[in-house]
Symmetry: D2
Subunit: 137 residues, 4 copies
């Protein structure tokens, strides 16, 4: 599938002593990527929660290729790995503003839980929107 | 009252591009100060919440005197400003490990709200513990 | 002066146990406000640093009026308090997307230091851009 | 090797809307784990940097098993994966205070770079300390 793109401007609070973006913050940028992709599909994560469904991360991975610097405008590319069965897996790629540099790649896997924290299968409304927006590949 | 002291080790994730502790993180360290002071009084903030009482910050202020660096061991001094009527006000002072340098001073004011977000007067159990631990000064 | 406006979408990582935006994060949003205002004037904070000038916060204050929730789109209004002599003072107001609610107001004061951490007077190029963009009041 | 143990108290600022520790913060806790393990070996990460050596993360992975809650006292277990050749790999396990629950497991890989950002082989003083403290397995 073509990755959904959104941007993020690195602030001072994201950087560290080395002058780079702190490694944990990439997971914040991944969150922005998946949240905005879902929003572009007409489904905000907040709407999912109002259905009593939560998608806590069950796994996160990030490979850091080129450091991100203060004031960089990041291009966050997000897609869904439809080959992953069981809950939802997002893939991410963080590029530089000019698109030339790949700062990082990674993924997050998310379980579906209900209000009581019980793991449930992804609800139909969620799977349908995912299928509708990924089927053409 | 003699200030309650606790310590915090500055990690890479707390620092910024300038090599200093990022200015917003001082409010995290203030939280550690007030939480540990209450705990030392036998009252964890978590216990307060189980009583249906929450203490969101209504105001925060920090004066930054000497920058904090990576790996610094901070001494967080916390006390309660008993002259403040209405909810609770904590005063803070962040010192260097050797006690010589004052990195910052500040305060936070907190309202008391119930589960519905309605402002309520500080519950007796909270005021009694505060009085008990501040009266002798 | 008319305040400069920029927006920020509250992410999960900004929220806390209470379901509100964590109080320290408002200072991150203040940073976004002043950085984007300077950028709109053709002067990125990064450019200031390349001149060997840094503007660490000497003081920060925030009054919290209405809690910010997950996924809220915040309007960050920033202006410069030209009545403040000595370095630079920014005023902030964080509004709700519809402009109706004021979530918080605050300010930050910044000292000017050189590469050696020595306090210096605000350089001409900085003061000129500030005057040029605030003189109409 | 027996894992090095250190603890961390989850603060409000670490939690999110779901009442859990935000997933990115686990990488902050991993940093605490490796920094304190090195310190226990008499080698602070700060000392490594004074030698002109930096260890930026080249990869990070975390599997989230049981959510961390506000005020939890986490046990962070850290060890070095000596089977990993090329730079340094740390393994982590985050347990509950009673040791019964495993909240998360993960690892971070770190490259060695010099002041110019050039990748270099791990310096002898670093490898010797690692070997000295891991050889007994």
């Amino acid at each position: 599938m073509p990755a959904y793109q959104t941007t993020y401007r690195v602030i001072y609070g994201d950087t560290d002593n080395m002058g780079y973006g702190y490694y944990a913050n990439y997971l914040r940028w991944f969150e922005i990527g998946r949240a905005e992709m879902l929003r572009s599909w007409g489904l905000s994560y907040k709407m999912i929660e109002t259905q009593g469904i939560f998608l806590p991360a069950s796994e996160a991975r990030c490979k850091y290729m080129h450091p991100v610097k203060y004031d960089d405008l990041l291009i966050i590319e997000t897609s869904i790995d439809t080959s992953f069965k069981g809950a939802v897996k997002f893939d991410y790629r963080i590029r530089s503003e000019d698109g030339q540099k790949i700062h990082a790649v990674g993924f997050t896997k998310h379980a579906c839980i209900d209000r009581n924290g019980k793991v449930v299968r992804p609800p139909r409304f969620l799977m349908e929107i995912i299928e509708k927006n990924t089927e053409t590949e």
